[in-house]
């Protein structure tokens, strides 16, 4: 944080020096209302988004010439649509923000959508991943991911594996989990391929042993898992190891949250060999990602690891910058949405763009395997599905 503060101070002094000039030009001060969950059990997720957004601001402050962006950060405390809605209202009415952004949980995004529509304020979603959310308001642009988008490529990959014929699915019993279960079941098909059983587990399961013992008895070739990440993923991995499912020949596949980077060190070698489908891995081999990781660790410490949430925050600010540049000080919320719909970038996760028809992200989905690289567990990408549009919209 120190470096960030120094930088802010530096910029402030530079701005003061330029004051006579800046006053003559018609510089515009934009406000971005960033809503994320910064306290409670999901505090780590909100921290990732906020840090990602601030990092982009820190690196690209001078790109807008005399225009400035101010981040107004609010905490929606978790999956709490009423809180999110109230905060969005305050940001629009009292703070007069030009953009709404952030949002980890889909219900919160859905609650804010009508406010964005009424106030004609563009709303950049940096995580909330249920497919239908972008339909909730014409002012929504999503830069993160959708659940069918990363689930279906994994299902296609699994369909091609000769040694995966039967799959048992286990998902958290809430809307995204059910969406993942449906997307996987729809995508996993072919000769002799079948989903033998599906189970939905409570969102907060302290212990996965009973569920996984049932899986072990069923002897599928693979277990597909979708979980909200965090401690749940580690708890699953512990049960997977202590019941010896790997030794019993049951492979573990799932969404990227199962092996999310900030939990991987807690999982230990049990995670080795787990195959996941997702859009971002810190092990992604590109210059953009290397630069991103370097800047991240310079700003937040060498032992801090960004996750896909941070990339969502980072790219969300990139899209907002793009809109501000394209509008050149003129234009309303609709113009900003139109500008962002044309946004393309070389993100830390790879090439991304926005589908102008759905205002949803188009990106590569990678199939990754957990491997040990220089002594640390990483999600190593080995197959790419290029420029995947959200399959949920095709329906």
């Amino acid at each position: 944080m120190t470096s960030f503060r120094t930088l802010t101070l530096g910029t402030a002094m530079a701005a003061a020096a330029l004051l006579p000039m800046a006053a003559s030009a018609d510089a515009k001060a934009y406000k971005v209302g960033l809503i994320a969950s910064l306290s409670g059990p999901t505090a780590s997720l909100g921290q990732q988004i906020e840090r990602g957004a601030r990092l982009y601001e820190q690196l690209h402050k001078t790109d807008l010439g005399d225009d400035t962006i101010e981040l107004v950060v609010r905490d929606d405390t978790g999956p709490a649509p009423d809180v999110a809605k109230r905060l969005a209202q305050e940001l629009v009415v009292r703070d007069h923000v030009d953009f709404l952004a952030g949002i980890i949980f889909t219900p919160n995004a859905n609650a804010i959508a009508p406010i964005a529509t009424q106030a004609k304020v563009p709303f950049v979603i940096m995580n909330a991943a249920a497919s239908a959310t972008t339909k909730a308001s014409p002012y929504i642009v999503r830069v993160s991911q959708t659940i069918p988008q990363f689930t279906q490529p994994l299902a296609q990959w699994a369909s091609k594996q000769v040694d995966i014929k039967t799959v048992y699915t286990l998902v958290s019993d809430y809307a995204p989990g059910i969406e993942a279960e449906e997307a996987f079941t729809a995508g996993f098909k072919g000769d002799g391929k079948s989903v033998v059983q599906s189970v939905r587990v409570p969102v907060q399961s302290p212990d996965f042993v009973p569920f996984l013992q049932k899986v072990k008895d069923a002897k599928p070739d693979a277990l597909y898992v979708f979980l909200p990440g965090g401690t749940q993923s580690t708890a699953l991995m512990k049960a997977y190891q202590s019941l010896g499912l790997k030794e019993a020949g049951i492979r573990l596949i799932g969404s990227g949250e199962v092996t999310v980077e900030d939990e991987l060190p807690n999982m230990g070698d049990a995670a080795l060999g787990v195959v996941t489908g997702f859009h971002y891995s810190t092990a992604h081999d590109s210059k953009a990602n290397a630069d991103f990781l370097k800047a991240w660790q310079a700003a937040y410490g060498a032992d801090s690891t960004p996750t896909f949430m941070a990339v969502g925050g980072y790219d969300g600010m990139a899209a907002i910058h793009h809109a501000i540049k394209a509008m050149k000080g003129k234009g309303d919320g609709k113009a900003a949405v139109d500008a962002m719909s044309q946004w393309t970038a070389e993100s830390p996760r790879g090439s991304v763009s926005i589908d102008p028809e759905t205002r949803d992200i188009v990106q590569n989905i990678y199939i990754r395997r957990v491997e040990k690289v220089n002594g640390a567990l990483r999600n190593v990408e080995f197959e790419t599905f290029a420029a995947v549009k959200d399959p949920g919209k095709a329906k």
Binding site: S39, S44, V201, P210, F211, Q213, K214, A235, N266
Partner: protein, 288 residues
Amino acid sequence: MITAALTILFHGLAFAMVLYIVSVGLGITMGLMNFANLAHGAFAAAGGYVVVMATRSLGLPFWVALPAAFVTVALAGAVVERLVVRTLYGADELRQVLFSIALLFMAIAGFTLAFGPLQQQPEIPAALSGQVTLGGIDFPAYRAFVIVAGVAILAALWLLIGRTRMGMRIRAAVDNRNMAEAVGVDTRMLFTLTFALGTGIAGLGGGIGADVLSITPTYGQEYLVLFLIVVAVGGLGSIFGPFLAALCIGVVDVAGKYLIPEFGAFFIYGVVIAILLAKPAGFFGVRS
């Protein structure tokens, strides 16, 4: 099939022991002082953090870290009791609940500030990280240790409460506080000691159970319902009651999730309702 049943039983027992170790202190203090301490789980989390810090940052052995967790948290408990809890004895339940829930929220914010929002795991000794084979079935060694520790703590508490002078005073004060005071028991001192003991055991439970219930800042809030269930079903002021309750709940929960996973966490609540309808004071409660 038998292998599966034994595995389920084993993991149910381990889960039950963690619940027992953390909750037993809550039952004793609630029974003795009529103080509904909703912040109890925060003391367990504190114990977990002590073990994490001792093994990870200070490089102390696990076997040193556990007693350290007990002592540190017991001292913290004694301080909290002397400074604030003391003023709330005899206050109405609403004030006690509001106070202790506020204490819990402060602890959550404090843990997040000090240790970050992510979960922390202690370093477990190599001897406990493998598998043990019993009757041809492999069980994780650490969970076997948790079960042994649970039984050992039950035995130690039984000796302490049932066989020592301090235990006699505690039993007397639980049964009838006024009479105990009248015959010369220093209940002020007794309350401090008991509160320290209760929170200390919770701290120990947080440390021992860190592998089963992960240590996060919100630990005390996430599992609060489970701890309260164990105490309510077991009966206030008893040490065997919570043990039986934890066994019942741990095994029923695990078995229910295994047999009918669709109902997930429902079983535990069904069983609690049934038991409390039949015995409103819990298994061994002196009062409801």
